[in-house]
Amino acid sequence: MATLAAEKPVATAPAPEAVVVRFAGDSGDGMQLTGGQFTLSTALAGNDLATFPDFPAEIRAPQGTLFGVSAFQINFGSTEIDTAGDAPDVLIAMNPAALKVNLAALKPGGLIIADTGEFSKRNLDKAKYDSNPLEDGSLAKWDVLAFDISALTMESVKPFGLGNKEALRCKNMWTLGLALWMFDRDRQPLIDWLKAKFAKAPTIADANIAALNAGHAYGETAELAGPLKKLHLEAYPQPAGLYRTITGAEAVSLGLVAGAQLANLPMFFGGYPITPASAILHHLARLKEFGVTTFQAEDEIAAICSAIGASYAGQLGVTSSSGPGIALKGEAMGLAIMTELPLVIVNSQRGGPSTGLPTKTEQSDLYQAVYGRNGDAPMPVIAARSPADAFDCAIEACRIAVQYMTPVMLLTDGYIANAAEPWKVPDPASYEPFPVTFLTGKNATDEDGNEKLLPFARDEKGARPWIKPGTPGLMHRIGGIEKNPGTGNIDYSPASHQLMTDARKAKVDGVAQGVPPQDVTLGNTTGKLAVVGWGSTYGPIHQAVRRARAKGLDVSQIHVRHVWPLPANLGDLLKGFDNILVPEMNTGQFKTVLRDQLLVDARPLTKTSGQPFQIAELEEAIAAYFDGVPDNEGGEVDANSQQLPSPETVNP
C-alpha cells in the first residue's frame, strides 16, 4: 500500500536558500542560451534547480516589441527545488519591452538590472512607455541597477575588431558574466564551452570570453556601491552519484531509446514538426547508432501511419506531436487499437484548442488522450511529472505497448519539454528488460489436429501475438474492420463485435494489474485533504503541500502517473480522505476521470493562463480547506498552537 514519504526541508522564503532569476530580452538577444548556460553553471555549483523558458511564438518578432520578448526563469537553491519559482527576485531586462512584460512578476523589493543603452526613445515607444521608467520613479518598489551594458560590452570586445552588430551580440555573455559574479560561480566551464562552440571562429570565442570576463569584473567594482550584492548559495545535498541537467524532450528521447533497447527492438520514429514536440524528433535524428530510424513525414497522419507500418513490420513504432497533430492522428490510433499493434504516441501538450498557445503550457489534452477516438477505443495513457521523470515514463510506455500489443500515449507538456532540471544519471542495467518474442510458428490446432494460425489468440495479458511479415507459413491479413476473435478475418457478426470490444477493453483495463500501486508522495494515507495531480503540476503541488504540512495542516499529495487505466488501489486510497482537490492546467479534466472511474467527490482547481501554477495559488486553495486559520490567504499565515490542532494529533 501507500508509503509515508519522508519529509524534506521546506523552501520557504526564497533567499537565502533559493533565488529566482529571470533573464528577459529581445528574442534576438540570446536569452534562452544565456539561461541555459546559467543553468549549467548552477547545476555544476551543486544547487538544485528548475527552469522555465518562456519564448514568443514568432521566430523573428520585430526587434524591441512587446510580443518579441523572450524570457528564461531559473529557481535554484540549497534546498529541494520543484518549480521555476513563483516570482523572480532578480529581473535582468535587456530592453524596455522586456522590462514592461516581466515587471509585474517581480517580487516587491526585488532587483532590476537594466541595460540603459537600449532605453532609447525609439525602444521606449516600441514598448509603449510614455516616459523612461528608469528615470520617472515608477520603479520605486524595486532596487534598480541601470547602466549601459551595450556600451560596456562594446568596450570590452574592442580589441577583436568586430563589427557593431557582432560586438553587440556579446551582450548576453557580458550579462552572464555579471550573473556568474553575483552568485559566486566558476567561469571556467563557460569559457570551455565557448571555446568548443566557436572552435571554428576563435575571434568570436575570444570576444565572448572577454565580454564574460568584463561582466564579471564589473560586478566586483559595482559591489562597492549600490544594490548589487554577491550571494553564495550552498550546494543542495543530493544522493551521491553522477548528475547532469536534462529537459523533458531529451528525457523522452533517451527513455524511448532505452525502452527500445529493453524491448530488444530497433525503433522507428515518425514525426512532423510542431512546437513543442519537434525537439524529440531533433534529438532522435542524431541517435542512429542506437538502431533508430527517424522519418519526417508529410503530415501527422503519415507520421503515425508510417510508425504503425514499422510496428507491423517488427520495429517499435513511435510517433510524437502536440494537440493539433494528435487530433489528426486519431483515426490511425483507432487502427492500431483495432489491429492490436504496439505503438508509442508522445503528446507534448500545448495550450488551447486549434493553434491555441503554441509556446505555452497546458494539460488540456487529457480528454483527447483518454476519450478522444471514435468507437470504444481504449488506450493506456501515462503522464510524466517532470523533465527527469519523462525518462522512466517513456520506458514504461514502451513496456506497456509491446507487452499488451497496444498503442500507448505518453503525455508531457510545453513546460516539461523545455524546462531543465538536474538528473541523477541512471544505470541502464537497473531497468528490467522486457524483450519481445515474435511468433514463429502456428499457435493453435484445428479439430482434426492440424496446426493453424490464430493471429488474434490472446495470452494471459489479453495480448495477441506479434507476427512479422517475412515469417514463413504465417501469412495472414489484418485491418480496421471488425474481425473474428481468433482468425482475425473480417467478421461483423454481433457476437464477434461484442467479444472483441470486451477483449480490447479487458486488455487495457488489465494494464492496471501490472503497474505499482498508487503511493502517497507526501503525507499520510488517510486524512482531511488529498491533493491529487498528474503531469507537470507535480512541482508546485509538492511545494505547496510541503509548506502546508509544515504549518501542521493534514494534507497529502498523491500524484498519478498512470492516468488510464488508473492504478487499481487509487479508489480505496482516495476514499480515505475527507476532501479531494485536483489542481490542473485545464478546466477540470482529470477531475472528471476520477469522478467517472472512482465515484469520488473530486473538486477541481483549474488554471488556463498558459503559465504553470504558482506555489502560492495552491497554498491558498489548500488553506481554504482548513478552518480556524485566520487571514487564510495563500499560506502566508503561520499557524500557532491555538489556531490549529497540534501536528501530532493530526498526524500521529
Binding site: E289, C305, G479
Partner: protein, 344 residues
C-alpha cells in the same frame, strides 16, 4: 532490394479462403486474377509479399491474396507502406488504392510516396467513382458525371492520375485496364522497376459507373483506340494504320495515317521510356482525338528512398558503439560525493 530468390508457386497458392465480396462482374475480379497470375511468374514468395491498401472496394484486395496483408485507413496506405519498407526493405510491397482513396483523401500521401521513391508497386484502380460509398463522383470523374452527390452533373474538372504521378516526380508510370490481357506484363515491368512504380488500372464499376472505359476497353472495337507502348518501338495503333508523330514546330503530338505500314515515312515517333517530356505528352493526350496510351509510359529508375535512409543511418553509425550508459551521461556532468548523501 527485394528478396528475389525465386519461389515456385501457382495461381492457386495466392488465393485465400476468404469469400470475395465484390459485385458480380466488377472489374476488380479481373485485376485480382491478373495479379495472382503475375505473382508466380515473378517467382514471388508469399512470406515476403505484403499487400497494403487504404479503404474502398479496391482496397479490399489484400484479403484475397494469400500473402501478408494490411487493410489500413482511407487514403493513408502510402504512409503505412513507407513505414513497412523503412523497417524491412526486404519485403516486396504492393499497394492498392482507388481514385478516391489515392487522389482525394490520400492525394498528399500519394504525392510523397512517389516523390520519395519508396521501392514498391502502386496499383491505382481508377473506376472514376466512389464505389464503396455507393457511387458519388470522384476526383477522376469526368465533367458532368451524374451521381447521388451531383444529381445535376459534376462541374469540377478531373485529375489525370498519370499526369499527377509524373508531376510529383514518379520514376515509373504505366497504365492498363482490368480485362486487358497485357495487364500481367505491365505489372511485371512495375515489379522489375526499383523504386515507386505507379500503375493506373482502369476498372469497370459495373454498378455505379458502368462501361465508362468502353471506348477503348470494350473487348470488341476498343483495340482501335489503344496505343500500347513499347520501348524503342514506333507509336502505332489501330492495327498499325495510325501513328503518333511529334510536331517539332508546335512541340506537340499529332495523329498521322500510316500507309502500307511505312511508319517511318509517316513520321511516327519512337517510344522512349526514359524520355520524361514524351511521357508527359503521352499521358496528356486528350482521348477521342487521340488513342489511350497504355503500357509502360515512363521508366527511369533512381536510387530508392529506403536505400538512401539505410545508407545514411549506417554511415552515421559507423565506428560508433551504441552504449546507452554513455549516452545518458553525455554533456556536462557533475558528481555528488557519498559524504553529501545524508539527505533523504
Amino acid at each position: 532490394m527485394n528478396d528475389m530468390t525465386p519461389i515456385t508457386t501457382t495461381l492457386k497458392d495466392w488465393e485465400t479462403d476468404q469469400e470475395v465480396r465484390w459485385c458480380p462482374g466488377c472489374g476488380d475480379y479481373a485485376i485480382l486474377k491478373a495479379v495472382q497470375r503475375t505473382l508466380p511468374q515473378l517467382g514471388a514468395d508469399p512470406k515476403n509479399t505484403v499487400f497494403v491498401s487504404g479503404i474502398g472496394c479496391s482496397s479490399r484486395f489484400p484479403y484475397y491474396v494469400e500473402s501478408y496483408g494490411f487493410h489500413t485507413i482511407h487514403g493513408r496506405a502510402p504512409a503505412f507502406a513507407t513505414g513497412i519498407k523503412l523497417a524491412n526493405p526486404e519485403l516486396d510491397v504492393w499497394m492498392v488504392t482507388g481514385d478516391g482513396d489515392g487522389l482525394s483523401i490520400g492525394g498528399n500521401h500519394l504525392m510523397h510516396v512517389l516523390r520519395r521513391n519508396v521501392n514498391l508497386q502502386i496499383m491505382l484502380f481508377n473506376n472514376e467513382i466512389y464505389g464503396l460509398t455507393k457511387g458519388q463522383y470522384s476526383p477522376t470523374s469526368r465533367e458532368g458525371t451524374l451521381s447521388p452527390s451531383t444529381p445535376l452533373g459534376s462541374v469540377d474538372r478531373p485529375a489525370n492520375p498519370c499526369a499527377f504521378a509524373l508531376g510529383v516526380g514518379a520514376r515509373f508510370v504505366a497504365r492498363g485496364f482490368d480485362v486487358s490481357k497485357n495487364l500481367p506484363d505491365v505489372l511485371k515491368a512495375a515489379h522489375a522497376h526499383q523504386g515507386a512504380a505507379f500503375v493506373e488500372i482502369f476498372q469497370n464499376c459495373i454498378v455505379y459507373n458502368k462501361d465508362v472505359f468502353n471506348d477503348f476497353a470494350a473487348p470488341k472495337g476498343g483495340e482501335e483506340r489503344q496505343l500500347w507502348l513499347q520501348d524503342g518501338q514506333p507509336l502505332l495503333f489501330a492495327n498499325g494504320t495510325k501513328g503518333i508523330s511529334l510536331n517539332r514546330d508546335k512541340c506537340c503530338l499529332e495523329v498521322v495515317d500510316v500507309v502500307d505500314g511505312d511508319w517511318e515515312a509517316a513520321g511516327v515517333a519512337l517510344h522512349d521510356v526514359k524520355n520524361r517530356a514524351l511521357a508527359h505528352m503521352l499521358v496528356e493526350m486528350p482521348f477521342g482525338a487521340f488513342p489511350m496510351a497504355l503500357g509502360v509510359i515512363y521508366d527511369d529508375p533512381r536510387p530508392t528512398f529506403e536505400s538512401a535512409v539505410i545508407a545514411q543511418n549506417a554511415k552515421a553509425s559507423e565506428g560508433k558503439v551504441a552504449d546507452l550508459a554513455k549516452l545518458l551521461a553525455k554533456g556536462q556532468t557533475w558528481t555528488v560525493e557519498a559524504s553529501d548523501a545524508d539527505h533523504i
